[in-house]
C-alpha cells in the first residue's frame, strides 16, 4: 500500500520536538503474541476445572413448556446443569429486562441450558440428554414483518419498537417541508443491508471460579475489566469488589466484544461454577460466533432517504427514514449514530431523521467498528449520488460544494451539539482526487471508464465522518490512568483496567508516558488489567482511546513529574523549573549544576506516594478552556474525516467484482505511531471490503436459522484477495485537525471501514450502468442487476 503522508510545517516541527511519539515503535505485545506467550482466555487452566457447553434453541421464537435435565445430570462426568429454573436471582440484563436464561427463546441459537462436565465431550453428550418441549411461536426476521407481529417484549413494548436508552428516535433541524419547497430537484432512494458479524478469530469464552464469596473471572471484554465487573455486579446481584475480572489478551473484537456481548458466556460459567463448586471454562465454537454476542446495529435494515437540492447543486433538505430489525434487543446506539451520519456529513440546512427499530428474532445488535457511519454511509451516499446524477454534477464537485467543513455545527443525536474543530471534507476530497487522478478517470454517471470485452471498469468516490471525540459525558466515569515509578531501577508501570485488542492502544499510551518522562518506551509496562484496585480507563471502542486514555495518561505523567520535581525542589532548595528528571540515573538534578541532585529513593522515603501519578481525562462538557471557541463561544469537538476513491472491474459474464484500486484519505491529526496507522488502515479496508463484497448472514425463512454461520460459508477476504498493491492511502497530518487533544491525534480504522463502501457502490454503478441498492455485491446480485439471472416463476422446478 502506498502510504502518502502529507505533513504541514507545524506537524514537521512537532515531530522534531518529539522523541518517542511519531516514531515507528513496534506494538509492545507483538513479541508475546507471535511467540504464543500471550495468554488468552482459553489458555487459562485451573486445577479441578470443568468445561461448559451450551444447549441452543432450534426455534426462532418459542416457549419452553417442559425441560427435563435429569438424564443429563446423571451422566457420569457431569457436574452441573443450569436452566432458567436455577436462576431466580441471577442473570438479569437490562433494556429490556430479561434473564440470561428464561423459559422463552427469541432466536435460533438462543440459550436454553448449559452443562458443566469433566470434559467437553461429556458436556456435549449431556446436551443431547436434555429433554425440551417447545411451543413454537410466530417469528419475524425483518422490520417489515416485525411491525405487524405480536409484541416480543410485551412488558417493555407493545408495538415491537425497541426500547433502548435513546427514545424517541426522531429529530429534526430546520424545516424539511420548507427545504423541499425551496428545492429545484428532489430524489428518493431505498437501500437495504443484511446482518453482518465481526469475524474475529478468538471465540467468546470465559473461565469462572468462586473463592468463598468472591467470583474470579477470566474474560476478554472490550470494555475495561472494572467496567465489566460493574456490569456483572448488577446482573449477578453482588458487590462489585467481590468480582475479580482478569482481562486476558483479546483475540480481536471489532466491537463484537463490546457491551453485553461477552457477558452471557461469563454469567453461564459463573452459574455453573457456583452450582458445581468447581472452576468452569466455557469456550464457544466458531459456529457459535454467529449466535453469541451481537451483530452490527442497525441489523437487517431498510433505509429510505429523500433529498432536495437547488439548481446550483446546494443541498436544501434531507428526510431520512430507517426501518431496522434490531434482533432480540439493542441499545439502539448504532441507529442513533446513523442519524449523526445523516446530519453531519453534508451541510444540509433542513434535516429530519426518523428511525423505527423493531424487535426481531435474530441475535441482538450493537457495535461493529463502533456505530452509525458503517451502516449509515452507503444509503446516504446512494442518496447523494442520486441527486448529484440528476443534477448532472461530478460527484467530487458535489462533495466540494456540500461537504462538512471546519467550524460547522455538528448536530449529535445522543449528545449535545458542538462546533467542528478541525477537518474539512471538501479540502480532503480535493487532495485525494488529485492523487487518484479523478478528473482523468471520471467519464460521467453510469459510464464505464474502460470497456474490454466483457470487463467493465468504473470509478467512485465517497466520504464519511466518524466519531472521534471519545471523551466521557458529564454523567460518565472519567477515564483514569495511574503511573508508578520503581525507585530502584527507574522502570515505569501504568495501570488502567483495559486491554489492547490489537489496535495498539497500550503501545501509544506507553509512548505518551515515555515521551513525558523522557525514557525509552521499553522501560514502560502496562500492568495486566484487573477489575479490583484498578481505575476505569481502558475501554477500547469507538475510536476513543486516543482521546480519553491518552488524555488520562498525559495528565497522570504530568502529575507524576510535577510531584517529583516539587519534592526535589524542596530538598534541593531550587525552583522546580530548573530541575531535570533523570529516571535512568535514578535522580533529579539541577539543570545547570548536575552534581546537585537527589536520588529517587530519597524522594520516595520523604514523600509517601510521590512516585505515583494519577490523571483523568476531562469530560467533553466540563473540559478546559481550549474546548471553547473564543470567537463564537461555542463548545468544540472533533470528528474523523474520511474519503475513499475506488476503481473496480466487473466481469459482466460472471458477476465477479474486482478491486483495481482503492484509495483512502483522511485528516488524521498527528500520527503518533506510523506502524499502527499503516496497519489500521489496511485492517479497516480489508474488513470493509469483505462486508461490501461477500458478507451478510443468510437466515432460513422457514425456521429463522442462520444458514451460512461458519468461516467457510460466510467468506471474509484472505491475503490472496486484497493485496497491498491494490491499495493507496493519503494521510493529511496537520495538528489543527485534532487540536483539542494533548497530542493532536484521532482514531483511524473505523472511519476507513465506513468510507470505502460508498465508493465501491458508485464505482460498480458507473461500471455496469445499473444501480444496486444493497450489499453485499455478490455475483448473484450483479448478474441479476444485469438481467443475466432470470429466475423461473414457479418455485423449485426439479
Amino acid at each position: 500500500m502506498s502510504f502518502n503522508i502529507i505533513k504541514t510545517d507545524e506537524a514537521e516541527q512537532k515531530y522534531r520536538e518529539w522523541k518517542v511519539l511519531g516514531k515507528p515503535v513496534p506494538c509492545i505485545n507483538s513479541y508475546l503474541k507471535v511467540t504464543g506467550a500471550a495468554k488468552f482466555v482459553d489458555d487459562v487452566i485451573l486445577p479441578n476445572m470443568l468445561y461448559g457447553k451450551i444447549l441452543r434453541s432450534p426455534f426462532a421464537h418459542a416457549k419452553i413448556k417442559m425441560i427435563d435435565v435429569s438424564k443429563a445430570e446423571t451422566l457420569p462426568g457431569v457436574a452441573a446443569v443450569v436452566t432458567y429454573k436455577d436462576i431466580a436471582h441471577m442473570g438479569i440484563i437490562q433494556t429490556p429486562p430479561r434473564f440470561i436464561l428464561t423459559d422463552r427463546v427469541l432466536y435460533v441459537g438462543d440459550v436454553v441450558a448449559a452443562v458443566a462436565a469433566d470434559d467437553e465431550t461429556i458436556a456435549e453428550e449431556a446436551l443431547d440428554l436434555i429433554k425440551v418441549e417447545y411451543e413454537s411461536l410466530p417469528f419475524s426476521l425483518t422490520p417489515e414483518e416485525a411491525s405487524s407481529f405480536p409484541p416480543m417484549h410485551p412488558e417493555a413494548s407493545t408495538d415491537n419498537i425497541v426500547i433502548g436508552a435513546w427514545f424517541p428516535y426522531q429529530r429534526s433541524v430546520g424545516s424539511v417541508e420548507n427545504g423541499f419547497k425551496e428545492a429545484h430537484i428532489i430524489t428518493e432512494v431505498e437501500f437495504r443491508k443484511p446482518n453482518i458479524k465481526h469475524m474475529f478469530l478468538e471465540n467468546y469464552a470465559a473461565v469462572a471460579d468462586w473463592r468463598g464469596d468472591e467470583l474470579h473471572l477470566w474474560s476478554h471484554p472490550q470494555v475495561g475489566a472494572a467496567t465489566f465487573a460493574m456490569q456483572l455486579a448488577s446482573i449477578l446481584n453482588m458487590p462489585t469488589n467481590k468480582i475479580h475480572v482478569y482481562q486476558c489478551f483479546i483475540g480481536g473484537g471489532f466491537g463484537g466484544k463490546h457491551g453485553e456481548a461477552p457477558i452471557r458466556v461469563a454469567v453461564l460459567a459463573a452459574m455453573l461454577a457456583k452450582k458445581s463448586g468447581r472452576p468452569v471454562k466455557i469456550r464457544t465454537n466458531i459456529r457459535e460466533h454467529f449466535v453469541e454476542g451481537h451483530v452490527l446495529d442497525p441489523g437487517i435494515t431498510t433505509f429510505r432517504y429523500k433529498v432536495g437540492a437547488d439548481k446550483a447543486g446546494k443541498l436544501k433538505a434531507i428526510d431520512a427514514l430507517v426501518l431496522a430489525g434490531q434482533g432480540e434487543r439493542s441499545s439502539n446506539v448504532g441507529i442513533a449514530y446513523c442519524g449523526d451520519t445523516v446530519f453531519n456529513t453534508y451541510r444540509i440546512p433542513n434535516r429530519s431523521f426518523r428511525a423505527y427499530p423493531f424487535y426481531t428474532n435474530t441475535p441482538m445488535s450493537e457495535a461493529l467498528r463502533a456505530y452509525g457511519s458503517q451502516a449509515g454511509v452507503p444509503p446516504l451516499e446512494a442518496a447523494m449520488n442520486e441527486i448529484a446524477e440528476s443534477l448532472g454534477m461530478d460527484p467530487v464537485d458535489f462533495i466540494i460544494k456540500n461537504g462538512l467543513q471546519d467550524g460547522d455545527i455538528v448536530t449529535q443525536y445522543l449528545h449535545n451539539d458542538f462546533q467542528l474543530a478541525g477537518g474539512d471534507l471538501p479540502k480532503l476530497v480535493q487532495k485525494a482526487a488529485e492523487e487518484f487522478k479523478w478528473k482523468e478517470k471520471w467519464k460521467g454517471w453510469g459510464v464505464p471508464t474502460e470497456v474490454s470485452s466483457f470487463r467493465r471498469r468504473g470509478v467512485g468516490v465517497a466520504v464519511a465522518t466518524h466519531t472521534a471525540w471519545g471523551l466521557p459525558r458529564p454523567n460518565m466515569v472519567k477515564d483514569t490512568v495511574i503511573i508508578k515509578i520503581n525507585s530502584n531501577d527507574g522502570t515505569v508501570e501504568w495501570v488502567t483496567d483495559g486491554r489492547d485488542m490489537g489496535s495498539g492502544f497500550d503501545t501509544v499510551v506507553s509512548q505518551v508516558i515515555a515521551e513525558i518522562l523522557e525514557i525509552d518506551v521499553k522501560d514502560v509496562v502496562h500492568a495486566p488489567p484487573c477489575s479490583v484496585g484498578q481505575p476505569i480507563g481502558g475501554d477500547t471502542r469507538g475510536s476513543k482511546a486516543l482521546q480519553s486514555t491518552v488524555f488520562a495518561a498525559y495528565n497522570a505523567a504530568q502529575d507524576l513529574k510535577r510531584k517529583i520535581l516539587e519534592g526535589a525542589s524542596s530538598v534541593l532548595n531550587v525552583d522546580s523549573n530548573r530541575l531535570i528528571l533523570d529516571l535512568k540515573g535514578l535522580r533529579v538534578y539541577v539543570k545547570d549544576n548536575p552534581s546537585s541532585a537527589v536520588k529517587l529513593s530519597k524522594l520516595g522515603e520523604l514523600f509517601s506516594g510521590v512516585l505515583v501519578g494519577i490523571g483523568s481525562c476531562p469530560s467533553h462538557y466540563g473540559g478546559p478552556e481550549s474546548f471553547m471557541d473564543p470567537v463564537t463561544g461555542r463548545r468544540l469537538g472533533m470528528k474523523g474525516m474520511f474519503c475513499s476513491f475506488a476503481e473496480v472491474e466487473v466481469d459482466t459474464e460472471t458477476g465477479r467484482l474486482n478491486i483495481v484500486k482503492l484509495l483512502i484519505a483522511t485528516q488524521s491529526g498527528m500520527i503518533l505511531n506510523p506502524l499502527i496507522v499503516y496497519g489500521q488502515i489496511i485492517g479497516g479496508i480489508v474488513h470493509g471490503l469483505g462486508c461490501m463484497l461477500w458478507e451478510g448472514i443468510v437466515y432460513c425463512e422457514k425456521t429463522g436459522a442462520p444458514l451460512n454461520a461458519s468461516f467457510i460459508d460466510y467468506p471474509i477476504p484472505t491475503t490472496l484477495d486484497v493485496t497491498e498493491n491494490q491499495l493507496a492511502s493519503v494521510v493529511i497530518v496537520d495538528p489543527k485537525h485534532a487540536r483539542l487533544t494533548p497530542y493532536m491525534a484521532k482514531g483511524i480504522s473505523e472511519g476507513v471501514f465506513a468510507a470505502i463502501w460508498g465508493s465501491i457502490h458508485m464505482a460498480v454503478y458507473n461500471a455496469i450502468g445499473v444501480k444496486i441498492r444493497e450489499f453485499p455485491l455478490r455475483p448473484e446480485k450483479i448478474l441479476k442487476a444485469l438481467g443475466k439471472a432470470q429466475f423461473p416463476k414457479t418455485k423449485g422446478v426439479v
Binding site: K702, K795, V798
Partner: protein
C-alpha cells in the same frame, strides 16, 4: 466432539473388517479435513461409534505411471499431486484442480481419496447442532430437501432426484474429464469403477466396508489441451460455485477440434458432462463463434431453482473461456 472408538488400521483388509463389524456405524479418516468438520458440527443424524484411521496403512501414498496409466494411492496428499512434475506435465487438469482446493494447510492434510468422498456443502445438510438446529433432510434419511424451497443459490442447475446439493469435489470433476476410475476394495473384493459412474444423486457408490484404494487415470492423447477453471468468491478456502474441466484435442494448424471432453462441476449432484457442448465443437474450428455456441449448448438443458439462475450465466461463460483457453494453449 463426542466420544467414539478409534482404530489405527494396519491393512486395507483390517479397515474393511472393522467397517463390516460396525455395520454402517463407523467412518474412515484420512486427512480429516472434511470429517473433523462433520464431527465437530455434529452434522450426521447419528454420531459414528468408531473412526478408523487409514493413515496407518502403509503403501497407499504414491504417484506412479504404469502401462500408460497414472496411479495415485488414495492417501496421497492433494499438495503432492498438485506439485508432482509427472502430474503437472501430463495430467495438468488434475494438478490444477488439486491446487485449487482449500488452502495450503488443507492440501497438506487432505487426501485425494477424501476429496472424492467429501460430504456436500449444502447449508441445510451442514447446519450444526451446536447452533440448535439440524435439518433432517433427504440426504440424511428425511423426506424433504430444504434447499428446493429455501436458499439454493449454490445448488444444482441440472435438477436432482429429490436432493439438489451439488458434488463439490474438484478432483472428481478433473478426473472425470480425464476419463479416470477409482479402485475400490470391499468385503466382496476389488473392483474398478469409472468416476463418471461413481457418484449417484446422493453420494458416492460405496457400500458398507468399501474403501477407495487408488485413482487411475489413462494417459491423455498426445497434444490434448487441458483447462481447469474454478469460479469462487475468494481466491482460497472456497468451494467452487461453478467449475469447468475441459480436455480438447485440436489440430495444430487450423484449430479444428478432433476430440473434446467438457465436465462441469458444482452444478449438479454429480460431475456433469456437457455432451452437447462437446458435440458442437467436434470437427469444427475453435473460435469465438463456435465457443459461444458450445457454451450455450452446455446450459441449454439447465433448470434453475429460484435463487441460482446466475450460475447458468457463470457456467456458460466458463465453458466458453475454457474452450478458448485450450485453443490459446494450442497456439503457444
Amino acid at each position: 466432539m463426542k466420544r467414539f472408538e478409534h482404530f489405527n488400521a494396519k491393512t486395507v483388509d483390517d479397515a474393511i473388517s472393522l467397517l463390516e463389524k460396525y455395520n454402517g456405524e463407523a467412518m474412515v479418516i484420512a486427512g480429516g479435513t472434511d470429517l473433523i468438520r462433520i464431527l465437530k458440527d455434529d452434522v450426521l443424524p447419528t454420531y459414528p461409534k468408531a473412526i478408523i484411521n487409514l493413515k496407518t496403512i502403509p503403501g497407499l501414498d504414491y504417484i506412479k505411471e504404469e502401462n500408460g496409466t497414472l496411479k495415485i494411492g488414495t492417501l496421497t496428499k492433494l499438495h503432492d499431486i498438485s506439485t508432482s512434475s509427472l502430474v503437472k506435465t501430463k495430467y495438468s487438469l488434475l494438478a490444477e484442480a488439486c491446487r485449487s482446493v482449500g488452502s495450503p494447510q488443507i492440501r497438506y492434510m487432505g487426501t485425494i481419496g477424501g476429496n472424492l468422498c467429501q460430504h456436500v456443502q449444502c447449508w441445510y445438510y451442514r447446519a450444526s447442532k451446536s447452533l440448535g438446529i439440524a435439518f433432517r433432510c433427504l440426504r440424511k434419511g428425511g423426506n424433504v430437501c430444504y434447499a428446493i424451497s429455501g436458499d439454493n443459490r449454490f445448488h444444482s442447475i441440472f435438477g436432482g432426484k429429490g436432493c439438489v446439493a451439488v458434488c463439490s469435489s474438484d478432483a472428481a470433476v478433473a478426473s472425470t474429464a480425464l476419463g479416470g476410475s477409482v479402485k475400490v476394495k470391499g468385503p466382496s473384493g476389488e473392483r474398478v469403477i469409472p468416476i463418471d459412474d461413481f457418484y449417484t444423486n446422493i453420494g458416492a457408490k460405496l457400500e458398507i466396508g468399501d474403501i477407495i484404494t487408488e485413482i487411475q487415470i489413462p494417459e491423455p492423447q498426445a497434444d490434448s489441451k487441458q483447462v481447469w477453471i474454478k469460479f469462487r468468491l475468494r481466491n482460497s478456502l472456497e468451494f467452487a460455485i461453478v467449475s469447468v474441466a475441459a480436455m480438447l484435442k485440436l489440430k495444430a494448424e487450423d484449430a479444428i477440434c478432433e476430440n473434446a471432453k467438457i465436465l462441469l462441476g458444482a452444478v449438479a449432484p454429480t460431475p456433469k458432462r456437457a455432451t452437447e457442448a462437446e458435440e458442437t465443437i467436434k470437427g469444427r474450428a475453435i473460435n469465438e463463434k463456435t465457443a459461444e455456441e458450445a457454451s450455450k449448448m452446455a446450459v441449454a438443458k439447465a433448470i434453475p431453482l429460484n435463487h441460482n439462475a446466475y450460475k447458468i450465466a457463470i457456467t456458460k461463460s466458463l465453458v466458453k473461456r475454457a474452450i478458448l483457453m485450450a485453443k490459446e494453449q494450442a497456439s503457444l
